[in-house]
C-alpha cells in the first residue's frame, strides 16, 4: 500500500486508544479525595517529590550507547554492499572495529562501564 500505510497505522493507533479511553470514561464513576490523588508508596504517606537528582550511571550508558548506535547506522550500507565488494570490505571493517574497540577499551578503563 506504500507510505500511506504509515498514516493509516498512526490514525488507527490513535483512534483505537482514544475510543478505548473514552468508553472507559463514560462507563466509570469518578471520585476524588486527597489520599487517592497521592503517588503510591505502598501504603505509607507519600514523602517528598520524585523529580530530583538521579544516579548518573544511567546517563553514562546512554552516552556510550550514542557512539555505538552511530557506528551501527554506518554498518547498514556496508552490510548491503559487502558481498559485491569482497575482501576490501572485510579489511576495512576490521580497521573500523579496531578503532571502535580502542574507544570501547578506553571507556572501560575510565570506569564508564562500571555500575556506581
Amino acid at each position: 500500500m506504500g507510505a500511506a500505510s504509515l498514516i493509516v497505522l498512526i490514525i488507527a493507533a490513535v483512534a483505537f486508544s482514544t475510543i478505548a479511553i473514552l468508553i472507559a470514561k463514560v462507563v466509570t464513576k469518578s471520585t476524588t479525595n486527597k489520599q487517592k490523588g497521592e503517588a503510591i508508596e505502598c501504603g505509607i504517606p507519600t514523602k517528598g517529590p520524585s523529580w530530583i537528582q538521579f544516579n548518573v550511571g544511567y546517563y553514562l550508558f546512554a552516552l556510550i550507547f550514542l557512539i555505538f548506535d552511530v557506528e551501527l547506522v554506518f554498518l547498514y550500507p556496508w552490510a548491503v554492499a559487502v558481498k559485491q565488494t569482497g575482501w576490501m570490505a572485510l579489511i576495512e571493517i576490521v580497521i573500523f572495529f579496531f578503532i571502535l574497540f580502542a574507544g570501547f577499551l578506553y571507556a572501560h578503563k575510565k570506569g564508564a562501564l562500571k555500575w556506581v
Binding site: 486508544s17 472507559a24 503510591i40 550507547f65 562501564l113
Partner: protein, 358 residues
C-alpha cells in the same frame, strides 16, 4: 489455493469496479486500519491467555479455567473488567505527558506492523529498507516508557523507567549487530529479499554456527528490549511494585499492557522472518518432492507457527531464569554480548565473502 494475497487482490478489484479508484483507495485504507486494529486486539487477547496457560503448564497447575471452555475467554473478561475501572491521573503528575505516554506506546507498536510479511505477498508496505525501519522505529518505544515513568511523579515509576531506558538502549546494539549478520548474508535490507533468499533453506540452517550464535544473541537482546523476564527489571514486581506503569489504571494501563505484548509479537515475527524465513515453507536444497509437499501448507500458517514458537520460547525463559540485577544486566551486554556479536559479525562476513553458506 486459498491465500491472503488472493483475497486482498479480489477485494481490490471488486472495490475498483464498485466505486472508482479514488474511493477504492480510501476504503482500502479504512479496511486496512480496521484489520490492523482487529489483529491488535486479537493478538493481545491470545497472548495474555497464552502467557497464563504456558505459565500454568510449566508450573504443573491448571491456570485460568472458569470463563468459557478451559478458561479461554479469561482475557476477554479481564478486558471488560479493565474497561469499567477508573482511569485516574495522580495529583502531582504532569497531566499532559502522563496521558500522552500510552498513545506513544501504542503508535510505536502499531507502526512496527507496517513491513511485516504476514503471508506470501501480503504486507502493508513492502519497503526496501524494512530492516533499517524496524531498528529505527523499535528504538522509539523507550520514549513512551521514559515519558510515563517521569510524568507519574512516583519514585517507583521513575526508577523503572530509568532502568528500562538503560536496558533498551544497551541491548539494541547487540540486537542490531545480530540482525546485520543476516543482512550481510543476504546483501539486502528489504524483508522481501531476505525471505526470498531463504527459498532453498532457512538462514539458521544455511549459515553454519555464526548465524546460530547471532540468533541466540538476537533472542537475548529482544527479551531484554521488550522488558521480559529474566530482564524485567523495569517492572520488577518485588522491588518496584509495577515499574513505570505503577500509577496507571484502567484503560491507560491496558494500552501499555497491550503495546507490550504486541512488541513481543513483533520482535518474534522479525526473528522468524530473518532467521526462519518468515512465510517461507521448510525447503531443503533441491529435494523437489519434499519442497512441493511443504508448499501445500499455507504461508500464513508457517509465519504464525514460527512466530508463536519464538513467543513460546520467550515465555519459557520467564520460568527458567531468575531475574538479573541491574549491574549484572549491563555487564552482560557491554562486556560479553557486544564484543561477541562484533566478532561474530566478522565471522559471518568471512563466510559470506568465501561463499561457504549454502
Amino acid at each position: 489455493m486459498w491465500s491472503f494475497s488472493e483475497i486482498a487482490k479480489n477485494i481490490d478489484l471488486w472495490l475498483n469496479d464498485l466505486v472508482g479508484s479514488t474511493w477504492a483507495l480510501v476504503l482500502e485504507m479504512v479496511i486496512a486500519g480496521v484489520a490492523v486494529i482487529g489483529l491488535f486486539a486479537a493478538l493481545g487477547l491470545v497472548l495474555v491467555i497464552m502467557e497464563r496457560k504456558v505459565a500454568a503448564w510449566i508450573q504443573i497447575r491448571l491456570g485460568p479455567n472458569r470463563v468459557g471452555p478451559k478458561g479461554m475467554f479469561q482475557s476477554m473478561a479481564d478486558t471488560v473488567k479493565l474497561l469499567v475501572k477508573e482511569g485516574m491521573t495522580p495529583d502531582g503528575a504532569d497531566r499532559l505527558l502522563f496521558n500522552v505516554a500510552p498513545f506513544i506506546a501504542m503508535i510505536v507498536a502499531m507502526l512496527l506492523m507496517a513491513p511485516i510479511a504476514f503471508a506470501k505477498d501480503f504486507q502493508l508496505w513492502d519497503m526496501n529498507i524494512g530492516v533499517l525501519y524496524i531498528t529505527a522505529v523499535s528504538s522509539l518505544s523507550v520514549i513512551g516508557i521514559l515519558m510515563a515513568g517521569w510524568a507519574s511523579n512516583n519514585k517507583y515509576s521513575l526508577l523503572g523507567a530509568m532502568r528500562s531506558g538503560a536496558q533498551i538502549v544497551s541491548y539494541e546494539l547487540s540486537g542490531g549487530l545480530a540482525i546485520l549478520a543476516v543482512v550481510v548474508l543476504t546483501g539486502s535490507i528489504s524483508l522481501t529479499d531476505i525471505i526470498k533468499a531463504q527459498e532453498n533453506g532457512w538462514w539458521i540452517f544455511k549459515g553454519h554456527i555464526p548465524v546460530i550464535i547471532a540468533f541466540i544473541i538476537y533472542i537475548i537482546a529482544v527479551t531484554a528490549e521488550t522488558n521480559r523476564a529474566p530482564f524485567d527489571l523495569a517492572e520488577a514486581e518485588s522491588e518496584l511494585t509495577a515499574g513505570f506503569h505503577t500509577e496507571y489504571s484502567g484503560m491507560k494501563f491496558a494500552l501499555f499492557f497491550l503495546a507490550e505484548y504486541i512488541n513481543v509479537f513483533i520482535v518474534c515475527a522479525i526473528g522468524a522472518t530473518l532467521f526462519f524465513g518468515g512465510w517461507m515453507p521448510l525447503h531443503i536444497g533441491n529435494w523437489q518432492a519434499f519442497n512441493h509437499i511443504m508448499d501445500y501448507i499455507p504461508s500464513s500458517v508457517w509465519f504464525f507457527g514460527k512466530t508463536f514458537f519464538l513467543i513460546f520460547l520467550i515465555m519459557w525463559f520467564r520460568w527458567t531464569f531468575p531475574r538479573l540485577r541491574i549491574d549484572q544486566l549491563l555487564n552482560l551486554e557491554w562486556k560479553y554480548l557486544l564484543p561477541i556479536s562484533m566478532i561474530n559479525l566478522l565471522l559471518v562476513t568471512l563466510i559470506a565473502i568465501l561463499g561457504w553458506h549454502f
